[in-house]
Amino acid sequence: MTGDLVVQFLAQGAQMTFVLLIAPLAVGIVRRVKARLMRRQGPPLLQAYFDLAKLLRKESVIAETASWLFRSAPYLIFALTWVAAALVPSFASGLMFNWAADVVALVALLGAARALLALAGMDVGTSFGGIGSSREMMIATLAEPAMMLIVLTLAIAAGTTRLAGVADFFIAEPFAVRVSLALSLIALIIVALAENARIPVDNPATHLELTMVHEAMVLEYSGRHLALIEAASHLKLVLYISLLICLFAPFGMAPANAGVAGWAIGLAAWSVKLLIGAALLGVWEISIAKMRVFRLPDFVGIAFVFGFLAILLAFLTRGVLA
């Protein structure tokens, strides 16, 4: 049993390391796809790694008005996000942390990270930070309830809020056509776009004061602090893509007691799906335009509407099944 535990521990450790390592690559792919579709050369695929390395070497400049919160926030944000990313079953569903991989816990971890970021944004007292924080919270007030509704819908369908359990359920019944699940997929995609500050909610590539949300909050950060926040946001992107994969395209995922070989297959399948997901995100971002900030509540509201509809229909279907 002890040996088993060690293997489990190693597997979980490998998953966390792998997620951390592949995250900048995923971001690189998104940027690359966008650039190519715009007929630009684009940065190298590994540019995100170079950026992180450069930032880690640079000196961190901190405003005079900044408090301890401003200095500690990046570490906390990074840690929270990393733990959250570790919770999502990626290549195998039976990993060590999976017993705790409750969707509610996931939402809570990400919510805490976001709250810290928003506080840090306001800490220095610049106007941009304030704007960014308030906009971020406006989006969050709609995205988080939507996320909870999606979670509840999945819980009704699969009978559990454990992500691994939900994934197992969908592996077992891959062709169940369910309106509520289709709706929650759309809703989850919208939430993912909003949470990751992607077009049309936010444009990660610009610093335009009229529209920026995420970038406005982190404007005051530099050096290793900025590197941590950047890494956290990369992790978050991978996390959400993994979540979508785990819930709606779980085929190929290794079951609970698969050996190293099973994990290897699962890892390959997951990596391919992740990279495809990143490429699709690039295509999506190039095809539509950024929305005006005032229109954002409507857009994120769709996620809420769909989540609500999904749960209504799920209740109704359950009434039918019962």
Binding site: V179, D298, L309, T317, V320
Partner: protein, 219 residues
Amino acid sequence: MNQAYEISHLLAGAMLVTSFALLYQERIAAVLNAFAAQSITLALAVAWAAWSDHRPDLFITALIALTLKGIIIPLALRRTVERLGIHREVEKVVGVGVALLVGLALTGLAQALVVKVASGTPSHAREALALALAIVLLGFLMMIVRRNAVTQIVGFMSMENGLILAATGARGMPLVVEVSVAFSVLIALFVFAVFVFRIRERFDTIDIEALDRMRGDRR
């Protein structure tokens, strides 16, 4: 769960989503697109019911929904909007957010009502009925919260879509009714079209707000 039911449920759910899309749109062209999508989904749903229930007469209803409401009417309305050069934006009584929230409440109401009241009916029919009622109520909402004449027409036809969905959900309902529904929709459109043009003739706008000033008592 059998597959026939799953698919009809999926299509009905898709229609409900397009109902929300109607409320969400800001431009008239987009509203017309959403309406066309809804009608085409309706045509698919009816065709599916015709095929799975072995009721070939329903194919006629599906065909009418597809050609008339899925293609001809949206195109005609788009041409009207372009030719008249009226406001391309949807004129709203309440904002998108409020409309969506009210729509959600209505959907919940429809589900609760049907599930509670019709507990004795077969579950499939009940579920189809709940979705159809939600679509009818959302069309109603659209007629209330959108001012422009074209959007009101679309709201009305969206209501009719819900009604046809309900009629096909009720197994074995005689054809007489379906044809008559299609027929009356035709008449309804005729009447609508006449009004759109007449209103244009008189006011250079098809915003109904302009009409409200003409109340007999306030002259």
